[in-house]
């Protein structure tokens, strides 16, 4: 064994963590602010003897009474103003704690339901039962408390899984999204009219979109393009029923009977797709676009993940195959528009496709795409989380949890994108705070409202991205 002293020395000398400049400065800013706040509330110990002065003069006494009345009136006015309760995001999180059922609906352009989910949440907050349907998509899912049934209308079959092995854990995603709302959400407008209902408008970074919160219940009624309600579902919603003429493919442990070939093949591809997806992301991150394209092609064959379409497009773009890149970005847009409308911000995809169009000289199509993503791009300057999806799209390591861009980095890169596709430059100093750059942000917002002219400028002057420290 190592001598005890050597171990002590090793810990004393080598177990050291140091704050990087960013953390050091951020903490120090907060520490200074805390100090200023605390010293600002100190009572003045050696103020003038006001009572003595007032007591000596009649005029001072009268002035003092008048001042007292004025203060009283001001206090009453303030009390009336404050008695209207202000909205805080915590109220929504608290309200959602008591929710037992969530009903989510998305509609197509003519108002028909295109995606419907029912979720039952247990008293511990975990998902108990679930149902999703996306007409006319050939797959629906029902989870009761024991099994997960995947309805394959295209195969006229119902696949049964043990719930512990195949679960559509939507509530856990909801948990993360709520935590995100509590910590990073922003109230944009209070007490406004939303389709005849009073609501607060809130920016919700996790969904990269806005949501509306009912002023009475404090519950979200709309998140992105999803309508939310919390009523108890009709009986039988979570009941697994086998339609007449359908085959049951029982894939639960201990089930006997053979599995159909198509199912065995799909399961095999699904498993491979997961591996290929991870390998594709890593290949793209290290700049090996050929391998990335190969891996993502295998993933999209089984429809494993829609982001595979995007990164496949990126890989082809890097390889100079712009036609293919446009095709893949278009696939991504169509799939996401149908499946996740409102929940996933598609701006980064329009931006990427616009670039690919430009490379082929198709400027008008490029401009049409960029007009769709410009609002999110400009919004990022004020709310950096609005641009996070661009970083997610640009660097698969973000998805793998191995890279986390700072707000400053998100904003700087977004300014470069804006300069590149618009040819505009209103100046910007990445070392200054958003407040100090307010004039520039306002100029971009004004430009978007009034002019919005787009001119692709490949030689635009770009701002160096802020350096990040590596551990």
């Amino acid at each position: 064994m190592r001598p005890k002293k050597k171990m002590e020395q090793a810990i004393r000398r080598k177990l050291r963590f140091a704050a990087g400049t960013t953390l050091h400065d951020r903490l120090w800013t907060d520490v200074l602010r805390a100090r200023e706040e605390s010293t600002g509330t100190n009572p003045a110990h050696h103020g003038p003897a006001v009572r003595r002065i007032v007591a000596k003069s009649l005029a001072a006494k009268a002035a003092c009474v008048a001042a007292g009345l004025a203060v009283a009136l001001l206090l009453v006015a303030l009390w009336v103003r404050l008695s209207a309760p202000a909205y805080a995001l915590d109220q929504t999180v608290t309200a959602l704690r008591s929710v037992r059922f969530v009903h989510m609906i998305q509609r197509d352009d003519v108002g028909r339901i295109s995606f419907e989910r029912w979720i039952e949440i247990g008293t511990d907050g975990a998902q108990v039962r679930y149902r999703q349907e996306r007409p006319p998509h050939p797959v629906a899912v029902i989870e009761d408390s024991e099994s997960t049934a995947v309805y394959r209308y295209d195969k006229k079959a119902v696949i049964l899984y043990d719930r512990s092995e195949e679960q559509y854990v939507w509530a856990s995603l909801l948990g993360q999204a709520l935590e995100n709302l509590r910590q990073e959400g922003k109230v944009l407008e209070e007490n406004i009219d939303y389709q005849g209902r009073r609501a607060h408008k809130v920016w919700w970074p996790a969904i990269h979109g806005e949501c509306y919160v009912d002023t009475e219940t404090k519950l979200p009624i709309v998140a992105g393009d999803s309508e939310l309600s919390y009523e108890e579902p009709p009986p039988g919603v979570f009941e697994i029923v086998i339609p007449e003429g359908y085959t049951v493919v029982d894939n639960r442990p201990g089930a006997t009977g053979s599995l159909p070939e198509w199912f065995v093949e799909e399961e095999r591809l699904k498993k491979n797709a997961g591996d290929n997806f991870r390998q594709g992301m890593r290949a793209l991150a290290r700049g090996d676009s050929a391998e990335a394209a190969e891996k993502f092609e295998m993933v999209v064959k089984v429809g494993y993940d829609t982001w595979a379409w995007f990164w496949l497009g990126s890989a082809y773009y890097n390889l100079g195959q712009y036609d293919l890149a446009i095709e893949k970005f278009t696939q991504m847009l169509e799939k996401l528009k149908d499946a996740f409308k409102g929940r996933v911000d598609l701006s980064s995809c329009y931006y990427a496709r616009g670039l690919a169009y430009t490379r082929l000289g198709r400027q008008e199509e490029a401009k049409a795409d960029w007009r769709l993503c410009l609002p999110a791009m400009v919004r990022t300057l004020r709310i950096p989380s609005a641009g996070f999806v661009f970083e997610y799209a640009d660097n698969p390591l973000v998805r793998l949890g191995e890279y986390k861009p700072t707000d400053q980095e998100v904003v700087t890169k977004m300014l470069n994108r804006l300069r590149l596709i618009t040819g505009r430059d209103f100046g910007y100093d990445p070392d200054r705070t958003p407040e100090q750059n307010e004039a520039v942000i306002t100029a971009w917002e004004q430009w978007l409202k009034s002019d919005g002219q787009i001119r692709f400028t490949p030689d635009a002057k770009l701002i160096p991205a802020p350096a990040t420290q590596k551990p």
């Binding site: 704050a19 605390s38 999180v93």
Partner: protein, 179 residues
Amino acid sequence: MLEDELLKWKFRRGSQEALSRIYEKYLNSMLTLAMGLLNDTAEAEDVVHDVFVSFAKSAPDFRLRGSLSGYLATSVVNRVRDHKRRLRRHACRDARFCVSTGSPEPDEMVIFTEEAARLNEAVAELPEDQREVVLLRLTAGLKFRDVAKLQQASINTVQGRYRYGLARLRARFNGEVEP
């Protein structure tokens, strides 16, 4: 030691310079202590942030007879304990509000060597009370008497925890050239 006494005196009188010096002097050792106790960069950053912010706010009423490093280290330990309690309550009460805290996101905010990371991994595997005493003694320089007070245990118990903790670490690195 004398410098700390002077810093305490100046800090109590509202000197920003004193606060800045205390911050520069103890930030990294408190970060190391928090990292050792939590083994999570983001959580350690939060704890150290809260400790220094709370310390800065305390200036008008600041009275301290003991050492500054002991005071700050005790604040870190208490914050870490609160943090862990909150997480446990959180997890039991409502799974909807739980976000994974064990995600392996490297954070560029904190700089450390491979050796430090390996040592920290090993320290993180110690039982909580042993981990506390090893870290408080070796990274924050607390006396056994102060650790005993903090852990509400006798000095003998604390010394025992320290011995067991070190023995485990030595066993862990047995045969390796250097941890």
